[in-house]
């Protein structure tokens, strides 16, 4: 079972990206052997109320059970607790927030309150360090990236908060992991989409230093080619058991802990 925790439906405002429909996403998944994808609404990240894009995710899941909704919750808006409640009722595996695009502090009081509420609801909070390479962003795309101290701060803000962090590179992950206690580190799971393979071998290194249990499969499609994360795994010398943990086992353990 290969689960992609980092996939998108919808449109990107800064360039024309093909394949934003459920049909296209399923076609991509079949092409590279992804069984299940956790889907966020890419268009809605940029809306004033990103939770308005959640209904389409719930409806898509009813039609296509392989696509699991990752609803957005904007903790700066008055109805955010209802959006979180709805996510839990709909069986969403986690919720997401994009504070850089919401214009709120990534480790400010709203995010801390959301992280705590997610912890209480036993729902991980998904956060993307970035959506695109900073060197290529549109001149009007000025939302700040997450920094390692934001993640450290959220982990410390509530002992129940669990974070699923996507699009992080080696340095970012190391600064969070080695800047946190073992108990804090156990409450964060990293997707592999932005971690370099050979010849720098960042992923191989991190699996050894940070630990294989802390990583899970994610692609960033449709903004990124899903082939990349599969290629990263194929370039590692993994046992079938290790590969299975990276493809879904670690995620299942993270959700049930």
């Amino acid at each position: 079972m290969r689960i992609d925790v980092n996939a998108f439906l919808g449109r990107y405002p800064f360039r024309d990206v093909p394949g934003g429909s459920p049909t296209a996403l399923l076609r991509n998944m079949d092409r590279v052997g992804i069984d299940v994808a956790w889907i966020s609404n890419l268009s809605a990240i940029f809306w004033r109320d990103p939770a308005q894009g959640n209904d389409v995710l719930y409806q898509t899941h009813l039609r296509e059970p392989r696509l699991h909704p990752v609803p957005a919750v904007h903790p700066g808006l008055g109805h955010w607790r209802e959006a979180l409640q709805r996510a839990a009722e709909e069986g969403a595996p986690c919720v997401r927030a994009d504070p850089g695009y919401y214009g709120i502090a990534p480790d400010g009081p709203e995010l801390r309150e959301l992280a705590a509420a997610c912890g209480e609801a036993r729902l991980p909070l998904e956060l993307a360090v970035r959506l695109e390479d900073g060197r290529q962003r549109h001149p009007n795309d000025s939302a700040p990236e997450l920094a390692p101290w934001h993640i450290r701060s959220l982990l410390r803000s509530d002992p129940r908060a669990k974070l699923l962090v996507t699009h992080a590179d080696k340095d970012f992950i190391e600064q969070v992991h080695f800047g946190s206690t073992p108990a804090e580190s156990e409450r964060v799971l990293w997707d592999i989409c932005w971690i370099w393979g050979p010849p720098e071998d960042h992923l191989e290194l991190l699996l050894g230093t940070v630990g294989l249990a802390r990583f899970t499969f994610g692609t960033g499609m449709l903004l990124r080619l899903p082939e990349n994360s599969v290629a990263k795994l194929d370039l590692l010398d993994l046992s079938p058991e290790q590969r299975s943990r990276l493809e879904s086992g670690n995620l299942q353990a993270f959700l049930t802990r």
């Binding site: 360039r15 024309d16 990206v17 093909p18 394949g19 092409r31 590279v32 695109e132 390479d133 060197r135 290529q136 001149p139 370099w196 393979g197 050979p198 010849p199 720098e200 071998d201 499609m221 449709l222 903004l223 990124r224 080619l225 082939e227 990349n228 599969v230 290629a231 990263k232 194929d234 370039l235």
Partner: protein
């Protein structure tokens, strides 16, 4: 099946990295898995240890080239080199090109020591024409400002140089290496002596389709640069969207057309 990586790098003991041998071994080992039959590579001087990466001193450029020639001798079927030169030192650059090509290198690597449209690049391009070798030009895809540590060129500046030297093949480096790749593709679309290498850490959805649409499969070259996983991802994606002969063109045939004496086993 032949697969040429037209944009590879190796390290050497005179650089700052203690893990230089490990990284070189990793590239070759991953290359085996991917099926790379030839890494066409450069070493950028001392990689910053005794002169800046993108402004290598003449001594460092020579030392890097010597290290690459040694790798080429150790792996005669697997590794070929670009002579890396700094165009600010014209006499040294021309001597270095002559020496390296005579020793079996296949091309010239220009990093970011001088803008691509600068007249100082003309004697380098003339040497490329004389030796019938291509120039791999480091490019910042749509440079909207100066970036620290380099005097980066963008595609528009490379186009100016390419138009001054229509008999020379130029390779626009790492279309996936950061920046606005669509800007570059528009710029080089109608310049037949500019080839686009697909390397770089970027694996943007839609980028490969745009390369095919704007430049065409006959001017695309496969490469990885410093992330072989992204190179392999792009190759796998191309396998899904191209016919066999189109894929072969990008895997190696286009490269074989511009590099002399390229080892191929098609």
């Amino acid at each position: 099946m032949t697969l040429i990586d037209v944009h590879a790098h190796f390290f050497h003991p005179a650089g700052p990295r203690a893990d230089w041998a490990e990284r070189n071994a990793s590239r070759l080992q991953a290359g085996e898995k991917i099926g790379i039959t030839c890494h066409v590579a450069s070493i950028l001087g001392s990689w910053g240890r005794t002169s800046p990466v993108y402004f290598p001193s003449p001594d460092d450029a020579s030392a890097g080239n010597l290290a690459l020639l040694a790798l080429q001798r150790d792996h005669p079927e697997r590794i070929r080199g670009y002579a890396c030169v700094n165009p600010n030192f014209t006499e040294h650059a021309l001597e270095e090109i002559d020496r390296c090509i005579a020793a079996g290198m296949l091309g010239i690597k220009l990093a970011a020591s001088r803008r691509a449209d600068d007249p100082l690049l003309d004697p380098i391009a003339e040497a490329a024409r004389r030796h019938k070798v291509p120039i791999l030009q480091h490019i910042w895809q749509h440079r909207r400002k100066d970036w620290p540590g380099q005097e980066a060129s963008d595609a528009v500046e490379l186009v100016t140089l390419a138009r001054r030297h229509p008999e020379v093949a130029f390779i626009l480096a790492h279309i996936g290496g950061g920046g606005d790749w669509l800007h570059s593709l528009h710029a080089v679309r109608n310049v037949p002596n500019i080839f686009v290498d697909l390397s770089g850490s970027g694996v943007d959805g839609g980028m490969l389709e745009a390369c095919i649409d704007q430049v065409g499969v006959t001017r695309l070259l496969w490469g990885a640069d410093i992330t072989l996983d992204t190179g392999w991802a792009k190759l796998r994606h191309l396998e899904q969207i191209l016919r066999d002969e189109q894929l072969d063109a990008i895997r190696w045939r286009n490269a074989a057309g511009i590099f002399p004496r390229l080892p191929t086993r098609g």
